[in-house]
Amino acid sequence: MIRVQREDFDVGGELAALSSGDRGIGGVASFVGLVREAAGGGAVGAMTLEHYPGMTEKKLAEIEAEAQRRWPLSASLIIHRYGRLEPGDRIVLVATASSHRQAALEACAFLIDWLKTEAPFWKLEEVGGEQRWVEARDSDDTAAARWRR
């Protein structure tokens, strides 16, 4: 399931909902991304996430389908927020459920790694009263590349 929204989400509630009703699920893995205060050259006061409506949902659905193809998942969930966020705020939730932990853990790592290099989101940071666009990191490409086939 894919959700792109401005509103916050309840991690506990989402994880409980993901596995409810399926007694075959043996484990749920999750990743929660937060707005970090520390940036290069100062403290981040706030961050605005911009995205490309339409392509965002399309790419996230493709990434989720790829995870479902590679691992035996019982359920999966990607929630990504957009708009203005402050340090400590939740940005993204990725969760996967499977009968065994390995598939859930690996698929969860795959989803967040691929999301970071494929989904059309951009972060605008406010540091010291100035706004600047966050630059893509080579380390994100490296993290995503380990899942290439």
Partner: protein
């Protein structure tokens, strides 16, 4: 053909979207970017360094040699930084 700009490309070009009608000699992504760069100093500045420009045709990533045609939605943006 509808062109969408995101993040700092939008700021530098000075608009979020525009509808353009490029000449018939423009057949692929690289040619389209070359032609768009001639439209204003803002376009030229935004598209100067192609290493940090990504393009999507109808919401799928496209390489420089990908074909573009009338009616396409072309999005132009920097490398993504979500997650």
């Amino acid at each position: 053909m509808r062109i969408l700009y995101f993040a700092w490309l939008r700021s530098r070009v000075g608009m979020a979207s525009e509808v353009v009608d490029p000449p018939a000699t423009v057949t692929d992504v690289a040619g389209l970017l070359d032609w768009l760069a001639t439209r204003s100093p803002g376009h030229q500045a935004a598209l100067a360094d192609r290493r940090v420009v990504r393009v999507a045709i109808n919401q799928d990533y496209a390489q420089p040699d990908a074909a573009v045609k009338t009616g396409d939605e072309i999005a132009i943006f920097p490398p993504v930084t979500g997650g």
